[in-house]
Amino acid sequence: MNRFFDVVRRDLRLALRQGADSVMVVTFFILTVVLFPFGLGPETNLLERVSAGVLMVTALLAAMLSLDRLFQADYEDGSLELLVLTPAPLELVVAAKMLAHWLSTGLPLLVVAPLLAVLLHLPAEGFVPLLLAMALSTPALSLIGGIGAALVLGARRGGVLLSLLVLPLYIPLLIFSVGAIDAAAQGLESTPHLLILGGFLLAALVLSPWVAAAALRQAVE
């Protein structure tokens, strides 16, 4: 288990010192969300209606921006071979890298989202479900996206291929996240949506490290 946290610590240190990924993801999120009021006009009613969808879709796209770097840098400089050859199970190492990815990209998104929600006139009842839905869906983005990132290793234009692979898998997360926020905004119960999101997260948590580790073993052959 110490090895797990050693890998998390190393990846966080890399993310903090390079900084570019986290800053890029958050900046993309903010800028894109800010574009919507300009494009749709400042009508409060309209913004209120689309705010949940805009926030979730943009967060999802922002999280995807940094995914292709998840294993690519380690693959290019030979670290990945060494990570495969550690006494710790590769699945554990992969899970640690996915956790570090979420901490350095998903978590900042979660922090900024309520501020942007104010900008988009999200109804007050929607804020708690927004945070909960993002807390459940952004880790799932890192987990599922990690599979894609492992699969496209070594491919040219991997980033584009990655989007094509992963975006369809994000659709259920999007539907239930927006469902939870909309339900709360209309005064309905948002718990069922959140429970389904939790289910997705658990399934992704169990499956993704195994699938991604298998893909990585193929990649280093």
């Binding site: 110490n2 090895r3 190393r10 060494l82 990570l83 050859l85 550690t86 052959e221």
Partner: protein
């Protein structure tokens, strides 16, 4: 075959009838090797003879298309993590992160191989000293020269225990003085019961090492058979 693998007289690390295929082409076939503790194996052969591929097979990164590998009579495929725990692999890439310092990089790998973090930290320090990197301990990876990067990578070998060292052209970019240090480190490792498999084009002193010419295991050119 199974009986032969469990033969008590068999060597510690054994490969039988190994064959390797890369990109649809058979690189070598019918290759046998055996190593005992303290032993060394020098891989020779022209470019493309399969030296790197053989080292990757021995590390467990690449699966041979035929043949078996066994450590102390146990098939490697049965417990790849135990094999990874006793193996240090040094490939073409130096695994240097531009933003991490020398100590951070070596200590990270040491801790992954070591159960005891404090011991890993001590070993990291002495490994860096051994390869003359003590004054560079806080230098970020992007400031290192090619030879220094290679030495950082070599320091990884000493920073955590590993009985089997698989070194793919370890002398690349090293100066003469560093090669002498590496030779001494290899001798110490073997004196302590370690195994070394090494491929090189340069001169390196490896007394008593068995030599494997990989081009002798190349399959006959197509059209002749």
């Amino acid at each position: 075959m199974v009986r032969a693998m469990n033969d008590p007289r068999a060597s510690l690390f054994q490969g039988r009838h190994l064959a390797c295929q890369r990109g649809g082409r058979l690189v070598f076939a019918g290759l046998d090797l055996s190593l005992d503790s303290g032993g060394a194996l020098l891989l020779l052969g022209p470019n493309g003879a399969g030296k790197s591929s053989l080292l990757r097979i021995l590390a467990g990164l690449l699966h041979p298309v035929a043949g078996q590998l066994a450590w102390a009579g146990q098939d490697l495929a049965e417990d790849p993590e135990a094999h990874a725990g006793r193996t240090h692999y040094l490939g073409h890439h130096d695994a240097i992160k531009p933003v991490l310092t020398v100590t951070e990089m070596v200590r990270f790998w040491a801790r992954l191989h070591h159960d005891d973090a404090a011991a890993a930290d001590r070993a990291t320090h002495s490994a860096l000293e051994r390869f003359g990197l003590g004054h560079l301990a806080d230098m970020p990876g992007r400031m290192l020269s090619a030879g220094q990067k290679r030495r950082v990578n070599l320091a990884r070998l000493l920073a955590a225990p590993g009985q089997l060292w698989l070194l793919d052209e370890p002398t690349t970019a090293l100066d003469r003085a560093s090669i002498t240090v590496l030779e001494a480190v290899l001798a110490d490792h073997r004196a302590g019961g370690g195994l070394v498999v090494l491929s090189t084009h340069a001169e390196i002193a490896l007394p008593g090492a068995a030599v494997l010419h990989l081009d002798r295991f190349a399959p006959p050119p197509e059209g002749l058979s």
